[in-house]
Symmetry: C2
Amino acid sequence: MAKQAVKTHSVRGSRTGRPIMALLDLLGRRWALRILWELRDGPLTSRALRGACDEASPTVLQARLTELREAGFVELGDGGGYGLTPLGRDLCETFMPLHRFAERWKR
Amino acid sequence: MAKQAVKTHSVRGSRTGRPIMALLDLLGRRWALRILWELRDGPLTSRALRGACDEASPTVLQARLTELREAGFVELGDGGGYGLTPLGRDLCETFMPLHRFAERWKR
DNA sequence: GCGCCATGCTACAAATAATGTAGCTTACAT
DNA sequence: ATGTAAGCTACATTATTTGTAGCATGGCGC
């Protein structure tokens, strides 16, 4: 139990003391942005979230969720289901414009 | 001879046809956000960029730069130095508010 | 021309992280 | 008690990153 534990995972760049670096690092991990995105309009159960995230492996999802929880962006509501904290909602707002940008970008 | 080559790297989530997914995946790769961030106020030579990115390995940097270039966010100016394209600058703008958020977030 | 640097970029082994599949445990309802 | 669904862990395989070294090209001064 708890083998893959915490590992002190001190977000890269946090040493610099510049919060933005820590944030960029945290969000620059696989599925992190996607998770926040999928939770944008309401909580999801871990299983539903997995579904929304194109069946990403539960291992990473769990890891990301833990990190995002420690960062205070996500919480596991009593009664089950992951949802954004008020802070997490704020964060989500800040990159909501990405949606419009992406549409414009197309490719 | 191009072993780590291109690999058609079709951005995860692009199959869904939803550009936002492709974008979230692209930006959710190590150093991608950081690179855009570091280029925010002017071009940098590959070496300077490496310096700015806490000495990230040239391998990933090169990989990310290639991807970001293919996405049209970054370009290698003639005379050297990587810089944001107009599109890239737009993208950068959209998550500039993250800076303020990060400061507020602190931790 | 020749040496001297800086640039963009590649090689490659070692270390980390992610994927995919299985399955455990707890809680709750039937 | 049986059936489900939840959150979460194991673990072997595969992919990505790191770290260090180094190559090729293009100035620039001499």
